[in-house]
């Protein structure tokens, strides 16, 4: 089993946390990690002082195929309406059977 996986990083509105995490699980990811962040992008300043303007960063480690599925789902369902960026990078995992 290959230890080369993909890390997907999603930075988006905090209000989406529950919904996205559920969806990521449903699509087959074995886990995810969420960080409270703040930032600025096309939709303006999201300083995170209160829930409405708070961002989260979601990280998912998974295989290349699932990475495709997840990013595609995000692109289709959330990109138009929400502040969101998504990027991927290759990572080498320990215990690759965990993912």
């Amino acid at each position: 089993m290959s230890t080369e996986k993909e890390l997907i990083t999603i930075i988006t509105e905090a209000v989406l946390e529950t919904e996205l995490c559920k969806k990521i699980e449903q699509l087959g990811a074995t886990g995810y990690t969420v960080i409270d962040v703040r930032g600025k992008g096309h939709t303006g300043n999201r300083g995170g002082d209160w829930k409405e303007s708070a961002n989260i960063q979601i990280e998912v480690v998974c295989n290349a195929h699932l990475a495709e599925v997840i990013t595609h789902t995000l692109e289709t369902n959330y990109f138009d309406d929400y502040a969101m960026i998504v990027y991927r990078s290759p990572v080498t995992v320990l215990r690759s059977d965990k993912f």
Binding site: E19, G47, D49, E52
Partner: protein, 310 residues
């Protein structure tokens, strides 16, 4: 004499305007709003424990109706006059149909500062007015569709943090009654005005940050955010007096109808009507209507209530 809680709001506003690095950590903002919401809920609940619930039912019915009617009236106005797209009109209408707990607390402080009497069960109306407008707003935005995710939507509406804390506080106050809550009063009741002051400091910081969005969205919003509250306040005061509230009580009800939500509704709309632009509704409710009501609206509504009482 100017109420110091108003000064805290202005202080926050100025600090943010001058780009001070003053910040209230998000966790503290959460604590402050948890305390405010529970306490307001509890105050309502304690009153319910004092008088037979049945005697309040007619008033509650009227208030619920207000919550349904306001967004139905505002949404077409926003579409026609404001040229907003369907979802945006519906979302803004929902914000104004619902209420701002912070504004309510300032209104109550105004009553007490000026020794104006008001009905102690008014907090119950806050709870009642939170929800109907959200439902109407979603229906206006989406129409009634066969495949609507009602499970998800009603979850957002009834189990959002704001609503849960108000209802939880109400239930606790109701069950425990006036005597039961004696021991928790020092935290929830005695500190209330101080907590409100800190909360308004943060609101001032946040409000000032909304201003930058104003220029992008033209001045229709400014007019809307000032004129509509005044009109709704007149309506609310009139209904309040008609249903037998004192001048103080009618003023508070008017303030509630004049106020626009910035906690429960934005979250629910963001999830349920994603294509509505949240900046529009927040700029109006938080950037214009909130400071207007808090700084100049409430005393005006009180004068209106006195006039209408005749």
């Amino acid at each position: 004499m100017i109420d110091p809680i108003i000064l805290f709001f202005i202080f926050g506003f100025l600090a943010s305007l001058f780009r001070s690095d003053l910040k209230i950590p998000p966790a503290i903002y959460d604590l402050l709003s948890i305390l405010l919401l529970i306490t307001i809920g509890m105050k309502g609940g304690v009153e319910l424990a004092k008088q037979p619930f049945i005697s309040l039912l007619p008033q509650i019915g009227v208030v619920l109706l207000i919550g349904f009617v306001i967004p139905l009236v505002l949404s077409p106005v926003l579409r026609q006059l404001g040229k907003f797209k369907r979802e945006d009109a519906a979302s803004i209408a929902a914000h104004y149909g619902s209420v701002s707990v912070g504004t309510f607390a300032v209104a109550i402080a105004f009553m007490e500062n000026n020794s104006i009497e008001y009905e102690a069960h008014l907090p119950v109306f806050v709870v009642m007015l939170e929800i109907p407008a959200i439902i109407v707003g979603i229906l206006l935005a989406k129409g009634i569709q066969a495949n609507m995710a009602w499970g998800k939507i009603s979850h957002e509406i009834f189990l959002g943090k704001g609503v849960v804390l108000l209802i939880g506080g109400l239930a606790i106050g109701w069950i425990a009654g006036p005597d039961g809550i004696t021991k928790i009063k020092p935290l929830f009741f005695d500190l209330f005005t101080g907590i409100l002051a800190l909360f308004l400091l943060e609101m001032g910081l946040i409000t000032a940050r909304q201003l930058s969005s104003l220029k992008n969205y033209g001045f229709f919003l400014v007019g809307f955010g000032i004129i509509v509250p005044v009109l709704m306040a007149i309506g609310g005061v009139w209904v309040g007096l008609a249903m037998g509230l004192s001048v103080g009580g009618a003023t508070v009800l008017g303030t509630l109808t004049a106020s626009a939500s910035y906690i429960a509704v934005p979250a629910a709309m963001r999830i349920s009507v994603p294509s509505a632009n949240p900046t529009l509704s927040l700029t109006a409710s938080l950037g214009i209507t909130f400071p207007f009501n808090v700084l100049v609206g409430i005393p005006i509504y009180y004068q209106i209530a006195k006039l209408m009482q005749g």
